[in-house]
Amino acid sequence: MTATPEQLTIAAKSLWLDKKEFQSFLNVLREGGYQIIGPRIEQGAIVYGPVDRVEDFPLGWTDEQAPGLYRLKKRDDDALFGYAVGPHSWKRFLFPPQLDMMRSKKVGAGWDMEPVPVETVKYAFLGVRACELSAIEVQDRVFLNSTFPDEYYQQRRRDSLIIAVNCTMAAATCFCTSMDSGPRCRTGYDLALTELIDGYVVEVGSVQGATLIERLALPTVAAVQEERAEVARRQAVEQIQRVLDREHVQSTLKQRLNHVHWDDVAARCLSCANCTMVCPTCFCSSVEDVTMLVDQEVVRQRRWDSCFNFDFSHVSGGPVRDQTRSRYRQWLTHKLTTWVDQFGTSGCVGCGRCITWCPVGIDLTKESVILCSEAGLDKPQDSPL
């Protein structure tokens, strides 16, 4: 989207939101008719859920992540956004894990069939990271740039407000710099915050964002604060250690479909689908009937599904991908290569969730290096995609 001249003027001036004013900021969002979804602590992790008050936030908490490992740790300050990313992603709200799509009612000996109306929800997503902005943009391409746009997604997406937060730290599993998706928020937000110890530098990305923030009559940010924000953001870049050679993998992995290392990964992979559930771009689903016994009504419900599911590729002769090896291969090659053919962008945004939340810690950045190597090629002439 190109910004209107008005937007550009707005965007040119960053504002300063004092830490003490944060509750007022939340109030403004609420008064705007939004249900605020933001970070909160549940079950030992920072997840996304309804937030109304500053106390709902993970005040002074951070996350430590490694392959197959996630721990909450206390910070030595009171940051609200002093963590990387958790197990949830915003797709939970834009593309809900289960959703009723259609209802059939028995009428006499026959049936009536009707769509389940799109429910209107107005979300304000608070704390969207740069990699997550990218992920939303990826799902926009899947659900909206289609012959049959998904109107359930469309409605939620259109009515939601995105308040991004620039990362000032990174987890050991982050690699957005490799995927060109962060850590700096560039587009796709209504407002973007950079958190400092005493307040927030607020960038305005849309008219909608401007209209909301206007009500707080915030001062323009001082040069010194702008500089401190830049230092804080640079800290995140410096902390990122993990690398994925995006272009190399994109062009090479397709040539490695018979690499022996797929077997090695398959020996470890649980085919449990956790990576696809936590992935902010994975979009696979199934629609299934929910029976109401003889109550003469059947609802068709869409649920998140996964290419790791044994039945996922089922045809009349049985599943096409009938082993973990082929299912992992499908997931990784789709995510890193064929996604580009389908949607013009990589399916990976470098958030690292699939690495952290794999129960046995399989790390795609490591596996793809081995899979792209010449060593272990079954035949010199592998079948390319």
Partner: protein, 279 residues
């Protein structure tokens, strides 16, 4: 009119009755079921017990005595459609732990007069003895899946239950992974969904009530748990629980018992029929 309704029987073998209770617990749906079928034989619900044939027989429990084995053969003949309900009927249940131990020793340890007891040395699933039309997993079975099976059969559709892992249901529910965030042993990644991931929702690892998924990888999971410093015995006990005798759990559990230096040879074949019920 009554005669037109299909006849339903609910039968019990070696089990705790929990799966039958799931049926009784379906307060809202039970009346509808009762309208749609004729409940011919359901000892847990009514003392009026009609003889076969039955259109649909739900079988709870495993085969642990010679009499039960005979009764099952007759029941199969009397039933047009036979569905096993629960872990006992589907994989032998928790009582199948005796398949990995000495029957005599157990008898002597538990009973003051073991000579009064007459049982088979093993606890085996229904499918080890007769043809089963559909297996419903769980300890106990899930109400919605049970409903789906009954409704499908009444409507003339082949029933279907998901083969996805517990993890998939767990993540849809929004749970945080207890393995990753809390270092808890959990069988979710190798267990078939159906329960709605109840345990992880309450900060407990999955006990594997619904048995192994299709093509599970319990070895990778236990290797990981061992690396997380879970002991071999604890890890073995995790797999040798409610669905110990399900082939994939049985094999991996045995590998772990062996690693722990406590080999547990199997006293029954995992796959075949008659040896599976040796005395």
């Amino acid at each position: 009119m009554t005669e037109c309704r299909p006849k339903l029987a609910v039968m019990k073998f070696a089990s705790c009755d929990g799966c039958q209770l799931t049926l009784l617990d379906m307060e809202d749906e039970l009346l509808t079921i009762a309208r749609a079928v004729q409940i011919s034989h359901f000892a847990e619900a009514s003392s009026s017990l009609a003889p076969g044939p039955y259109d649909l027989t739900l079988v709870e429990g495993s085969i642990t005595t010679r009499e039960d084995r005979q009764r099952l053969t007759q029941l199969r003949e009397d039933s047009k459609y036979l569905v096993t309900i629960g872990a006992c009927a589907t994989s032998g249940g928790v009582q199948a732990l005796r398949n990995f131990g000495s029957h005599d020793e157990f008898m002597r340890g538990v009973y003051a007069r073991p000579d009064y007891i007459e049982t088979l040395a093993t606890s085996t699933p229904i499918a080890a003895h007769v043809k089963v039309d559909f297996e419903l997993r769980g300890c106990p079975v899930d109400k919605h899946q049970l409903l789906e099976v009954i409704a499908s059969l009444l409507a003339g559709h082949r029933p279907k239950t998901s083969t996805e892992s517990v993890c998939q249901a767990c993540k849809r529910r929004g749970n945080v992974c207890v393995v990753v965030a809390q270092d808890m042993p959990c069988l979710g990644p190798v267990t078939q969904a159906g329960c709605g991931a109840i345990c992880p929702a309450y900060d407990r690892g999955c006990y594997g009530c619904f048995g192994p998924t299709r093509q599970p990888n319990p070895k990778s999971l236990s290797d990981h748990l061992l690396r997380q410093r879970l002991g071999e015995v604890e890890c073995a006990m995790l797999l040798h629980g409610i669905n110990a005798y399900a082939p994939e759990f049985a094999t991996e559990g045995q590998r772990l018992w062996e690693l722990a230096g406590v080999p547990k040879p199997l006293h029954a074949s995992l796959h075949s029929d008659e040896e599976g019920a040796q005395e």
